[in-house]
Symmetry: C2
Subunit: 435 residues, 2 copies
């Protein structure tokens, strides 16, 4: 039998995992510095939850893994971390609000396997539940920006818009019944270009004049100082549009307070694919056009109440960092140097009579918090050094009978090849000193 991994899935070998963990650990730390608390939901959800018409929408359901369990209940692998959060909020009314949580984990979608898309991929989400203020949206955006900067990324921008503005424009040009449909067309802009969007809009019956008006609006983008005036003109006379503008101003002013003003671009072509966003929407894009969007989110004040059948809305906003694209970007830009292993020192016993001594040295170093590996195969010193070279271990301590008698080992710096004798009790200090 030939062993295979399921199509569209990946194993992460140590070299990949060390980089992924570095990124995820950094994000966790930044999330916690913003007061987000960890939450975990199961991989499986009831189909009915994910398939709610107020959840991710029909497009995403086509890509959802689902099946019946042995009791005949329809289950599905979660396609995102937001709908499970909505379920948790609805099922746990006792949670103090605002409830700020993060969740980092895999989601599953039955994508066509192409263009580097995988059927299992990680998201890192932060959400604030129970706060109407744009301060909450600004907090999510600022936190995401700090995450990316904490791993060394610099070349990215935050695009922001507000659905109320686009919605007001769409209604004003006489396509009232199709707001979401029009937004879905605009959302495809990055994939199909302006021409493609025109074609799609025509297909759903938008008039030529209305299309031209829309085109002029979605071209509006730039730093807030430059384009806010243009946005003002567009929304004039529409209550919904003016509300959106006020939220946009508020959000920008909070982002200034968070020290993130210079990263912000207003971009009215931003639409976001999901139906449930109600007002601010945002996306972080890499300056590298091959990579594109690396995080995205927005406010979804109605979704939780609708999905749970509650009478009163529960305001909510959040952002999702796309771990796979961020890992790719980190690899390409080499901001995080690759590591083959996290071993700091390898102990090479020379002969069986010093093996137990080597083990006890290993235990001593581990107690000091040093990552230690040790020969398990009784190989020759040459073969052991080859192994350490392959795994890029920085130090090897050669444990020989003569040195051990003097309370010492030979310490080899694998980068320079230099060796020196060192007292066993100084080993931990030396390795830590050169970290």
């Amino acid at each position: 039998m030939k062993l295979e991994i399921p199509k569209g899935m990946r194993d992460f070998l140590p070299e990949d995992m060390i980089l992924r963990q570095k990124i995820i650990d950094t994000f966790r730390k930044v999330f916690e510095s913003y007061g987000f608390q960890p939450l975990e939901t199961p991989a499986l959800e009831r189909w009915e939850t994910l398939a709610s018409k107020y959840a991710g929408g029909t497009e995403i359901l086509k890509e959802t893994y689902s099946f019946k369990d042995k009791a005949g209940r329809k289950l599905a692998l979660r396609y995102d971390l937001t709908v499970p959060l909505a379920r948790v909020i609805a099922m746990n009314p006792q949670l103090a609000k605002p409830f700020k949580r993060y969740q980092i984990g895999p989601v599953w979608r039955y994508f066509e396997v192409k263009r580097g898309r995988y059927r299992e991929f990680y998201q890192a989400d932060i959400d604030v539940i129970g706060a109407k203020s744009m301060q909450a949206d600004a907090e999510c955006i600022s936190c995401a920006v700090d995450c990316l900067q904490a791993i060394g990324l610099k070349d990215f921008w935050v695009r922001i818009s507000n659905r109320k503005i686009l919605s007001a424009v769409i209604k004003s040009i006489g396509v009232k019944g199709k707001v979401l449909e029009v937004m879905r067309c605009i959302d495809k802009l990055d994939k199909i270009g302006l021409k493609g969007v025109r074609r799609e809009l025509k297909k759903i019956g938008v008039s030529k004049r209305a299309i031209e008006k829309l085109m002029s609006v979605i071209k509006i983008k730039g730093a807030p100082g430059k384009v806010l005036k243009q946005v003002e003109k567009i929304v004039r006379g529409s209550k919904e549009g003016e509300d959106g503008l006020e939220e946009l101003r508020d959000l920008i002013s909070f982002l200034d307070a968070f020290g993130k003003g210079k990263k912000i671009l207003i971009d009215l072509s931003l639409a976001r694919g999901l139906d449930y966003y109600t007002s601010p929407i945002f996306e972080i894009i890499s300056s590298d056009p091959k990579i594109g969007s690396i995080a995205g989110g927005g406010r979804y004040d109605e979704m939780i109440a609708k999905i749970a059948g509650l009478e009163k809305n529960i305001p909510a906003t959040g952002i999702s960092l796309g771990i796979e694209r961020i890992v790719n970007l980190a690899k390409e830009t080499k901001i995080l140097p690759p590591r083959r292993s996290k071993v700091e020192i390898y102990l090479a016993p020379v002969g069986e009579e010093v093996r137990e001594k080597a083990i006890s040295i290993a235990q001593m170093l581990r107690k000091e918090g040093v990552n230690v590996d040790i020969d398990l195969l009784g190989r020759s010193l040459g073969r052991q050094l080859e192994y350490c070279d392959k795994l890029e271990v920085p130090w090897v301590a050669i444990v020989g009978p003569a040195e051990v008698k003097r309370g010492k080992v030979r310490l080899r710096d694998m980068r320079s090849g230099r060796q020196k004798e060192i007292k066993i009790e100084l080993l931990a200090k030396e390795v830590k000193r050169c970290r």
Copy 2:
């Protein structure tokens, strides 16, 4: 629509997650100190891989979630982390040996929902691939013991045995064709007691005399110094049995070198449920009989080659820590104090005119590595303090206009209720000092 979580699944709210993460992070650190490297495999595997007759066995397959994907391929949620590892090893012959990896993550089994068993649960596995020496088994056991001690657990024992010994006994009493079946009966000892085991053995056709002999053997347990002599007698004359004894002696002597000798019990009633173990088997049990086994493993030198159809065996050994039981034990024994939130300080702006100042103080503290939360709702100070009480936040900084003018805030110790004025630039230091 009533929102529900799938039967047998759980959400982990922040208080639970903080404890779980503490345990998992500690294990990761200890794993890495022993030179184990991170690996991650997908949640889904091809059914054929998991259903190999050399993998987990038919019992476990009955509890495996499986389904056909949209292309008609049969997939399954992994039921453990060992079979996926075997697949990774078979598919990646380039990996330098010994290959030492850890993997921490959920596995899924369609259990009857009872007795605190859940259908999604975490395992934390370490395995050494490519080393025949008992040093590898000792390394896994020692590492697991250090993990448990690192989170403060003390009252547990390591039971060890060797399948070759039990196998030799079974063959010597004339039940040659049923070695695995007999082992499976003995494995149920903790659940069904000695009487139950007798009954099960009778059911599969073991003679009364053979049962008595088996009963006398599986009663042998105790510190190595005490019972090794008895084991010697039992295996005398059987090559297989004597091999097992020699491995047992070797393992014990390595465990002594690792400083773990005092935690070890030889226990010939240990059988382990999985078919693929070939020689040493081990289990860590809590002294609390309600909890029972909290880790288990053994050597499986043949499984990888058989599952992958290779000609040459790839020696392998490992241990799996049962996160759910360890979390329960940590809760019961209160070795890790519960925390409602990881927020260290909450900023309470008194009035809207100091909100932006409060945000900038938050940003300053976050840069210093402090976990900060801040008012998002414009609530009264009293309501904000209630919220902080509920989340057990240790410090609140009250940001008032008058104090801010003097470059200060009022810092409130939530445990004592005491307040004092403090310079803003000293806040981070003060919070860190009292961590």
